[in-house]
């Protein structure tokens, strides 16, 4: 009896230390919710669900690169390019400073497809540089980040692009279910989450991805085409950023070159908080969702507490470092 209690306590303790950062943030959320009014409100919930949805797409893209022991620093800038591209192609014909004055109104789906394809190509270039030229992912995507940013400046002339067609901005609308207005963005995020879960768990590509992260040499010996897998992973990530950029621009009602700036770091942080291990081969979609959610809640909580925006960055940075330190600790303890 006594032993059993001790056992429970031990299990509880190890659960707590393995999920410390998440538990800590939940306590924070609870505290903010109880002390600040409007935190637990439908409106705030909607706000959080919209931002979380977009961040989740980015994190899904980054997760594949992290699981294979890589990283992708170009995410934010590709989002920016995707958003700016979409906006320049989807402006109202009566808008005065139209980017392409002669452009007819294009179907939204065609533009989305074009953005996804172009961003996937940029991702593919990342993958090619990493897999075939053996440039470390950190540096390859750092270079790509700068290239894409520059290219976007050249393309847009650094001007903000607005005056979007209504059909496009309606992408951030709602299904009216009578009792609840279900955001489209939330639906998109859920669908993409399910698709990625399927890809990660039910296909050879997913298994190969975890194998490459677990032991790249062994994967190669086992007949995994590691180069091809990596290129697919980075290309798919590019497409996810493109989609995020497309939606983010619609949500903001316009885009400039700085759209999506810093999103890559938050995505990497969210994945890590959600248990995607920086040592490779480990990570679940549910964890990624949790990580993104926790990070968004942290930001919102800090806002509600009225903390100086600059200090909010400090707090976010600390959370990232602590999360990674705790993650690494799980693996070093096992020695």
């Amino acid at each position: 009896m006594k032993n059993q209690t001790k056992n429970y306590i031990q299990k509880g303790f190890s659960f707590a230390s393995n999920n410390a950062i998440i538990l800590l943030l939940l306590v924070l959320v609870l505290y903010v919710g109880l002390t600040q009014k409007n935190f637990f409100s439908g409106r705030n919930f909607n706000n959080i669900s919209l931002t979380t949805s977009i961040r989740f797409l980015v994190a899904l893209g980054v997760s594949g690169t992290l699981i294979t022991k890589g990283t992708d620093l170009s995410a934010g800038r590709i989002i920016g390019l995707g958003g700016v591209l979409a906006c320049t192609l989807l402006q109202r014909s009566d808008y005065s400073s139209k980017f392409f004055p002669m452009l007819p109104e294009l179907p939204i789906w065609a533009v989305l497809l074009f953005v996804l394809l172009l961003c996937a190509l940029i991702g593919l270039a990342n993958g090619f540089i990493i897999a075939k030229l053996h440039v470390p992912p950190f540096l390859a995507t750092l270079g790509m980040q700068t290239i894409v940013y520059g290219a976007n400046q050249v393309y847009s002339g650094s001007d903000p692009i607005g005056g979007l067609v209504n059909d496009y901005t309606d992408v951030v609308g709602y299904f009216d279910l009578g009792f609840y207005e279900l955001p489209f963005l939330l639906c998109i995020a859920v669908v993409m989450g399910i698709l990625m879960w399927f890809l990660y768990n039910k296909t050879t590509h997913g298994k190969n991805m975890y194998a490459i992260g677990g032991n790249e040499l062994a994967a190669e010996v086992s007949g995994v085409n590691t180069k091809r897998s990596k290129m697919i992973i980075y290309a798919l990530a590019g497409a996810m950023y493109g989609m995020a950029g497309f939606l983010l621009a619609a949500k903001s009602g316009g885009a400039s070159v700085n759209l999506g700036q810093g999103y890559e770091l938050e995505a990497i942080a969210a994945c890590t908080i959600g248990g995607v291990s920086t040592t490779g081969g480990v990570g679940k979609i549910s964890g990624i969702l949790l990580g993104v959610l926790v990070f968004e809640l942290l930001k919102t909580s800090l806002q509600f507490l009225g903390i100086d925006p600059s200090l909010q960055f400090v707090a976010q940075g600390i959370v990232i470092i602590v999360a990674v330190a705790l993650d690494i600790r799980k693996y070093t303890l096992k020695r």
């Binding site: 050879t204 975890y210 032991n215 062994a218 994967a219 086992s222 007949g223 040592t279 081969g281």
Partner: protein, 502 residues
């Protein structure tokens, strides 16, 4: 003054779920080599890690010269004169011998109150130390990366000596050494003995142990079975004590009938001059072709070349009567080849993944529904079948592979290849680092496979294994074939002379 230099009394150590050491006592006299033997998982490494402060013992005392000492960290152990030469050396390759020796405790001098590293003292001390390990011809400033593996090991021993070590623990020191290098190591050990050091020597190689040690302690399942003088023991006695039963046959008998040629290799050459050149051999159905040779004979490289992992400059591969090209492991696997690599941890297992994922990775296309959805039922079936067939001991197919013992990990990788139903299995050192019981099981599996008509190529550095398992032995030396020996005619002497051929 006690008779023993080092005494470990009633040492206990538990890990969650296992009692790794159960009241183990272990005594070592000064100026002797004391071998510590046992199957993997018997507790020898755990005992040594308790001694060297890597693990904290739950219970028991450690006495040095009759005095109880507290060892809480490796630093404590070193301060008391207990040093360890690790199984896997961890040298800093891009730094000099001297810096490797004095890493973390550089001799210092003060210039105007500022402490700086005293290179002069460091170089002189290094020279003295190198002399003690027969490396006097080496410059202390040489980078470690320019040394051979055995020389690096000697540097490691020099490091142990530099701590004025009274007790030196050597964990599998000869696992990657050639015959000559082993002799050199033994000479160094004799030096250390003469200086009054006690050496604790962990190894799986019986012949070696009987040759070098004065006393032998055998461990089994976390207890000490007993200590004997080496001169009273034989290989058979040792094995019996380690497994706790008499092993009448170390190798199951061959019953396979050899069929037609499955794989013919003609003039296979690497693009690198110094690697394998002009290798030709024929592998028949149901045959076990052993490949012998010393370290550096390029045997693994040859097999990696055959498997599409290394580039070839010329040569033909004829498979089932047809010439084929193998450009990548994927090609090789599709043709029906399988390669169990030499270094299980580096190129075999996916430590963070489950047994199931580890088995399935090379045969994923077999489990697809509609061409792209993995059918977990099919997968689970194949995995479970193999777990049963190979008697893999694991809580479930979802357990992570790194929680298994070496022998079971090896079986999981064999299962990975069997799931592909290959015709030709290439096994590179299939029983390296595996305990005696598991070894026999792997031999049995090999025999069964050859009876089913599968052909096996086995690279082995263990002479008895090579002699006991192969139908034909191909011996290599420096990348070239130096001869073939039929099983009936094969003796240790013939193979050694071919391997070392001048």
């Amino acid at each position: 003054m006690s008779e023993y230099l080092l005494q470990m009394k009633d040492i206990c150590k538990s890990f969650p779920g296992v009692k790794a050491l159960d009241h183990v006592s272990f005594n070592v006299k000064s100026g002797t080599v004391h071998a510590l033997m046992g199957e993997n998982g018997a507790g020898k490494s755990t005992l040594m890690k308790c001694l060297f402060g890597i693990y904290k013992k739950d219970q028991g005392d450690i006495l040095l010269d009759g005095q109880i000492i507290e060892i809480k960290s490796s630093q404590d152990a070193l301060r008391h004169g207990i040093a360890m030469v690790h199984q896997e050396l961890q040298p800093i390759l891009e730094r000099s011998i001297a810096e490797n020796l004095f890493c973390g405790r550089y001799p210092l001098k003060k210039i105007r109150g500022i402490k700086i590293v005293d290179h002069q003292v460091m170089m002189n001390e290094t020279k003295k130390l190198l002399e003690k390990v027969n490396l006097s011809e080496f410059d202390p400033k040489m980078k470690l990366s320019s040394l051979s593996l055995s020389q690096m090991q000697s540097v490691e021993i020099a490091k142990a000596v530099s701590y004025q070590a009274k007790v030196v623990i050597m964990d599998e020191p000869t696992s990657s050494l050639t015959e000559n290098e082993v002799n050199n190591l033994f000479a160094i050990i004799q030096n250390l003995k003469a200086m009054g050091c006690a050496i604790i020597y962990i190894s799986h190689k019986m012949e070696e142990i009987l040759k070098i040690s004065d006393e032998v302690t055998v461990m089994r399942d976390g207890i000490s079975v007993g200590t004997w003088r080496a001169c009273e023991l034989t290989t058979e006695l040792l094995i019996a004590k380690m497994v706790g039963r008499e092993l009448t046959n170390r190798f199951p008998a061959s019953q396979s009938i050899l069929g037609e040629a499955v794989l013919q290799v003609e003039g296979l050459s690497s693009i690198h001059e110094a690697s394998f050149q002009d290798v030709s051999f024929t592998l028949r159905k149901g045959e076990i072709l052993g490949i012998g040779g010393l370290v550096g004979a390029q045997r693994s490289e040859l097999m990696e070349g055959l498997f599409g992992l290394r580039s070839l400059s010329k040569g033909k591969i004829i498979y089932h009567g047809e010439e084929i090209k193998i450009k990548s492991p994927k090609d090789a696997i599709q043709k029906g080849l399988a390669l169990l690599t030499e270094d299980r941890r580096a190129t075999g297992i996916f430590g963070v993944l489950s047994i199931m994922d580890n088995v399935a990775i090379a045969s994923l296309p077999n489990y697809l529904d509609h061409g792209f959805i993995l059918n977990y039922k099919k997968l689970e079936n194949v995995v479970q079948q193999n777990i049963n067939k190979l008697q893999i001991k694991a809580p479930s197919s979802r357990s992570l592979i790194h929680t298994l013992s070496g022998g079971n990990q090896q079986k999981v990788i064999i299962a990975r290849w069997l799931a592909n139903e290959p015709d030709v299995l290439i096994l590179d050192e299939p029983t390296r680092g595996i305990d005696v019981g598991a070894k026999y099981e792997i031999y049995t599996i090999m025999r069964e496979l050859s009876q089913q008509g599968k052909s096996i190529i086995m690279i082995s550095s263990e002479m008895s294994e090579l002699l006991g398992m192969s139908d034909v032995i191909m011996v290599m030396k420096e990348g070239r074939v130096s001869g073939f020996v039929q099983q009936k005619e094969a003796t240790q002497e013939i193979i050694m002379s071919l391997a070392a051929q001048l």
